[in-house]
Amino acid sequence: MSARLHAPRRTPARLCALTTVALINVGPIVQAAEVPSYCAELKQVAALALARDKFASIIGAAREGNFLDSKVSLPGWGDCSFYGTRTYTCDSQGFKTADEGNAAHGKVLEEVKSCLRGGWTEDENRASPGYVVLHDERQLASITINTDLTEKGEHIVRLILFLRSR
């Protein structure tokens, strides 16, 4: 007996059932599409901030002033680095107009919240236009997302993750 002979018949009732199951499973797939591509790295950096040795494992060579290289970069972001050993920062790509920069700022905020949901909450009492703050649930670290204007005249979004207590 061939396998074909044993294949189940796709009756309308079964098709309905399959469609229902498929729709139920599509939800997470759609949600997963909103999670940014840099989420895994961001989670890694956020987790290190709350770990015992902090960022020690991903801090690289010294740069000018108080800046240091980072061994972990957020995909899609640029110039990821450390300021001292307690502050991690990355810049977004440049935008030509302030409106584009502000739109990107809102989008990044949603992406970060989506990525780190559960453990991090936005502090609305500290927010200003172009500037938001998120704290981890133990208030040990914070993330700020702000806009800036570069020397080239480009509007960028900057993400900073830093340890709160000194």
Partner: protein, 696 residues
């Protein structure tokens, strides 16, 4: 000859008499000659003082410890007023003598005493006219103070007023002596010789017997120049002021005795003896007054506050026997650093110069020579030190008390200034002399009618010109003391650290932006935790002997760049404003006004941030930062200039950004401390127009 009508004596108006005396002085050549001679004399001294002070200031730029010793009182005011003192000593007697001598020579005095005035009124009015003349003569020296102030030099109102007051007393003393000399002589020339015998005789005393042991030292105190020394040291002594007033009154009284003709010489001698006796008694009384005020900013005549309070509480008598010759440099050090301060602060101190009759050379074989014996109550101890650091603990030990804990207070920072004196030379060698010559020329057209004299003098004459100059000097000078302190960057050197602000943490330098000099904080190169270069010297410059705690805190918690304003000792009330522009900074673009900076390094700051668009009042205690008041939604665009202002009234703080009040907070304690500018992390910011308006 009829006697004056006594019914008129009390009712006669003094004003016309005063006007006549003014006219006599202004119409004479002596006043104008003195003014003209004073111009180059004062001008050259002022120019020299500026040059020397500038050289010392330039050296202090590289070593802030040197800045502590730079006081405008010593460097500028005393030398400039010193030249004025020379002019007053040598030339002012001729002006004062004219007030009486001319009338004696012309015979007008016999008519004058017929007028319905008491003789004492006549002499008092002449003395008042002499006082007015001295004020006119002070125009050159006052203008030097004005120039110094306008050019950005620091002035302490208390110091300048005290010094001016000392010279005024000296001028009155010279005037009184001159009046007396004119009253006892028949000609102005003889009166001048008598007066110069007093003034130049004082110089002779200074040069020959000052610092000598025994009665010579006492004799040296009779020198008229001693009057000014104390004021030059920044000490306002009640007994000295009262003593000079007594002597001035005594000479005026003697002039009153000798002025009226027709009285027997014997009677005049008896009255004079009574005057001298009364003056001696009064002098003896005023010398018992020990009260004096140290008005210097650096408290050079006082012990530290804690020691002063502790010593003031020691009620038993302290006797000090000094085995040193009076001219021994160690005794001079001891006198200046310890004995004079002890006499000021302790209620019962007696000092005996045990080697008083020895000379420095003859004391070589004395084994006890150099010892200083201190006896407090029944206990005594001996030391050879002339330093208060060793002597005060010794006295505390004798009194059975512990050395006091230091009291925190603002330290004298020193005021180095480098300025160009070219304008001063132009003023004193051209503009002012020409103005005086013009005023002199106008004075020769004065009306002769004495009764209309004052009106004419004030409204139409050359004195109007002089008065306008005098009033202008005062009018411009007084606001200069209350004017805002603006940190002027025009004379700063691009690329160098600012001179008017002390960088404590971070990299602060002057930058040239399109020809305009701005203050920049550059966090791009700075490593967190690094204090500014030469921080030990800077901490010492800011807080003097109590710099150690400040230095420790700064070095331990150098997380936030800041500079401290040199010229603001203790800001309690008023407004502080600054303009700023955020140039770059990935982590921060913060610009703040720092205030309430304590010697332990704690402070407050209100800061704006171009990356965060908020205005926050931060508190820093032991290096820990905490937000006191946080205001959101304060637009602060990067690469644009903004105005930041902090207004403080007691413990109430207001924060303004671009003219809009955003932040209000009431602190638990009133604000008191130094001020400055603040920044954070990698901020690269420009600052300009840092202005401080302090109010009471």
């Amino acid at each position: 000859m009829l006697s004056p009508d006594t019914s008129l004596t009390r009712g006669a108006p003094v004003w016309p008499l005063f006007a006549k005396e003014l006219r006599e002085i202004v119409s004479g050549r002596a006043l104008w000659t003195l003014l003209l001679l004073a111009c180059p004399l004062v001008g050259y001294s002022f120019f020299q003082a500026i040059s020397l002070y500038g050289e010392a200031s330039a050296a202090a730029a590289n070593s802030p410890v040197l800045a502590i010793s730079l006081s405008p009182l010593d460097g500028i005011l005393v030398p400039t007023f010193g030249s004025f003192y020379v002019a007053v000593t040598l030339l002012f007697p001729f002006i004062a003598i004219r007030a009486l001598g001319e009338e004696k020579q012309s015979g007008a005095l016999r008519l004058l005493v017929q007028l319905p005035y008491r003789t004492v009124t006549l002499v008092s009015v002449k003395l008042a006219a002499v006082f007015f003349a001295w004020l006119l003569c002070a125009i050159p020296v006052l203008s030097s103070v004005l120039i110094w102030s306008i050019a950005g030099g620091h002035l302490s109102l208390a110091e300048i007023v005290t010094l001016f007051f000392g010279h005024l007393l000296y001028g009155l003393l010279i005037g009184a002596v001159a009046l007396f000399a004119a009253s006892i002589t028949e000609s102005s020339a003889t009166a001048a010789i008598v007066t110069l015998a007093f003034t130049i005789g004082s110089w002779v005393l200074d040069f020959t017997v000052a610092g000598r042991p025994g009665w010579l030292e006492w004799f040296a105190h009779l020198s008229l120049t001693q009057v000014i020394r104390t004021f030059e040291q920044g000490l306002l002594s009640v007994s000295l002021v009262a003593g000079v007033v007594v002597v001035v009154c005594a000479f005026a009284a003697l002039a009153t005795v000798w002025l009226p003709p027709g009285i027997a010489v014997r009677q005049k001698l008896i009255r004079s003896a009574l005057c001298v006796a009364a003056a001696a008694v009064a002098l003896l009384a005023v010398t018992q007054i020990k009260a004096s005020i140290d008005i210097t900013e650096d408290r050079r005549n006082s012990f530290p506050l804690a020691d002063a309070r502790q010593l003031a509480g020691l009620a038993d008598p302290l006797s000090i026997s000094v085995h040193l010759a009076a001219e021994d440099p160690r005794y001079i050090d001891l006198q200046r650093n310890v004995l004079a301060k002890l006499e000021r602060v302790m209620p019962r101190v007696s000092i005996r110069l045990a080697s008083g009759r020895q000379s420095f050379a003859s004391s070589a074989g004395d084994e006890a020579y150099g010892e200083i014996e201190y006896r407090y109550g029944s206990r005594s101890d001996t030391s050879r030190s002339t330093s208060p650091r060793e002597i005060l603990p010794l006295i505390y030990g004798l009194a059975g008390v512990s050395p006091p804990a230091p009291i925190s207070s603002a330290e004298f920072p020193g005021y180095p200034v480098v300025m160009d004196g070219a304008f001063a030379l132009l003023w004193f060698l051209a503009i002012l002399p020409i103005s005086i010559v013009l005023a002199w020329w106008r004075s020769r057209r004065l009306p002769s009618n004495n009764q209309t004299f004052l009106k004419e003098v004030v409204m139409n004459s050359s004195t109007k010109t002089l008065l306008i100059v005098a009033v202008s000097v005062v009018a411009v000078l007084l606001p200069a003391f209350a004017a805002p302190i603006k940190v002027d960057l025009a004379n700063e050197t691009a690329g160098a650290e600012p001179k008017g602000l002390v960088p404590v943490v971070g990299i602060w330098r002057i930058e040239n932006d399109g020809g305009k000099k701005l203050l920049a904080v550059d966090g791009r190169q700075w490593k967190e935790g690094q204090s500014s270069a030469g921080i030990a010297d800077k901490a010492r410059a800011l807080y003097g002997e109590r710099y150690a705690e400040f230095l420790d805190r700064v070095q331990a918690y150098a997380y936030y760049p800041y500079v401290v304003a040199k010229d603001v000792e203790d800001f309690k009330n008023g407004e502080i404003t600054v303009r700023f522009e955020g140039l770059s900074g990935r982590i921060d673009q913060g610009a703040g006004i720092l205030f309430n900076l304590k010697p332990n390094g704690d402070y407050l700051t209100i800061r704006a941030n171009c990356l965060e668009n908020n205005l926050v009042l931060w508190k820093f205690e032991k290096g820990r930062r905490s937000s006191v008041e946080w205001v959101r939604n304060t637009p602060t665009a990067t690469r644009q200039w903004h105005d930041l202002k902090v207004r403080i009234v007691g413990n109430k703080v207001e924060g303004y950004l671009d003219g809009k009040l955003y932040l209000q907070h009431t602190l638990p304690q009133p604000v008191s401390g130094k001020i400055g500018l603040w920044s954070k992390a990698d901020s690269y910011m420009h600052f300009d127009d840092f202005t401080v308006v302090a109010s009471e």
